[in-house]
């Protein structure tokens, strides 16, 4: 298979796919083509889209490759599609962030951080398929442990969980006026 042919086929496959396509899946379909050549074709497509200021971009997201519209064109697309995009409330977004960075995590543990009941929010996230119950914690009551889904990665344009923005380190806390000795404040990040 010619190099240019391969690139063209890969682009077509990505066009018809409605979820991110893994490199593995591409090698399955394109039997006979070398894995490295497919990877190179993907790379080239990616650069082509960028350099030619195309309306679609090839993005690595949720462990696969997906054609997505250029962010600069968002307003036109919204006008074209009509309707209002579902907005995520602050409570929902914060809860999602806690789950993303601390997964697997129970509702009680989320509540300890947020200081409020999270039942409703967790249900919303479950319904939107952004989180899921991944296991049960081995403590009394065996509560569910929640983790994020592939849909979460897709929503925030993340390649995988290691690409989450780095969580800011806890500030060095020194408490003035502390009677007696200064208390050592250590928060270890697991």
């Amino acid at each position: 298979m010619e190099r240019e042919d391969l690139k063209s086929i890969v682009e077509s496959l990505l066009f018809v796919a409605d979820v991110p396509v893994t490199l593995h899946r591409l090698t399955e379909v394109l039997a006979g083509a070398d894995r490295n050549d497919i990877a190179a074709a993907l790379n080239e497509l990616q650069t082509d889209c960028e350099n030619n200021r195309r309306g679609v971009r090839l993005v690595e997201v949720a462990g696969g490759y997906q054609l997505r519209t250029a962010a600069a064109n968002a307003d036109w697309i919204k006008k074209f599609l009509g309707g209002r995009p579902a907005r995520m409330s602050r409570a929902t977004l914060e809860t999602l962030a806690i789950i993303a960075y601390r997964q697997p995590i129970t509702k009680a543990e989320i509540e300890a951080i947020r200081g409020v009941d999270v039942d409703g929010v967790v249900n919303t996230l479950l319904e939107r398929n952004l989180i899921r119950a991944v296991a049960r914690k081995d403590v009394p009551g065996r509560p569910f442990l929640y983790g994020t889904t592939a849909e979460f990665l897709q929503l925030f344009n993340l390649k995988d969980l290691t690409h989450l923005p780095t969580l800011k380190e806890m500030e060095e806390v020194t408490l003035p006026e502390a009677p007696g000795e200064e208390i050592p404040v250590e928060r270890s990040e697991e």
């Binding site: 519209t69 999602l96 947020r114 200081g115 479950l126 020194t174």
Partner: protein
């Protein structure tokens, strides 16, 4: 949730505290506890006056603040060991605030990314749900019930003395089933029950499956009469997806 009026601005007591700290331009690690407590209580009182449903958490925090304030007023005893009493009474609260602030920042960072259906879009055209794969036929309810009975019969019989308090709702199960099916494209009816140990959970799983069929999120098919029953993820267009999501949302919590 629907009857509860949430103060849009403050999601919870920690939010309110962070707001007051920012408004007063004070350092989070050195909170003027008397001032902040006074303003906190005034805000909570206002919320109550407005007949807003002030969550219990706000009152717990009010008590915590008053407790800290009273401890700050006590002279530091010389003979106290390096135990909790010797520490700044505000320490624990400060740590909670800082921890919460981190996740607020993280949420803000996530929001700045190129969010799907806000900043970037993917192709939405998908084949209709009705294009069943060739060679498959829909399964009748009776065949499903027969298959369910087979699963129930296979459950261990000796667990009559066990009191199982594991509660799983149909709604939770719907999410689990849908995830499994979507992740694998299609799964065998039996394999959905392979991890299930109790009669109650079998029933809940089955109900969840039926609900998912009803909202067209999955399809239950088989290749030939009395052949293996297969659960497939249905390809949903946006309208159907919304209907399905709404149905899961409206599903009551009870099992």
């Amino acid at each position: 949730m629907s009857t509860r009026v949430q103060l849009e601005v403050f999601e919870g007591p920690l939010d309110l505290l962070l707001h007051l700290i920012k408004k007063n331009e004070v350092n989070i690690t050195d909170i003027p506890i008397a001032t902040i407590t006074e303003q906190y209580l005034a805000t909570v009182e206002l919320m109550q006056d407005l007949s807003l449903d002030v969550a219990g958490e706000f009152l717990v925090m009010a008590a915590t603040l008053i407790h800290i304030k009273s401890r700050m007023l006590l002279p530091a005893s010389e003979d106290l060991e390096e135990d909790e009493e010797g520490a700044d009474p505000r320490a624990e609260l400060v740590l909670r605030l800082l921890e919460y602030q981190r996740f607020k920042d993280a949420a803000a960072q996530l929001e700045q990314r190129e969010v799907l259906t806000r900043d970037v879009f993917v192709r939405s055209g998908a084949p209709s749900d009705e294009t069943a794969l060739p060679g498959f036929r829909e399964v009748s309810v009776f065949e499903l019930l027969t298959a369910l009975r087979r699963v129930l019969e296979r459950l261990p019989k000796d667990n009559v003395h066990e009191v199982t308090l594991d509660k799983i709702t149909v709604r939770e199960k719907m999410t689990l089933v849908l995830d499994t099916v979507r992740a694998q494209g299609q799964v065998l009816f039996e394999s959905l029950f392979s991890e299930v140990k109790t009669r109650m959970e079998v029933v809940v799983t089955f109900l969840a499956m039926l609900e998912l069929v009803k909202v067209r999120a999955i399809r239950i098919v088989q290749e030939e009469l009395s052949g293996p029953i297969v659960i497939q993820a249905a390809v949903l267009d946006q309208g159907a997806e919304a209907v399905a999501a709404k149905a899961i949302e409206e599903k009551p919590h009870g099992t």
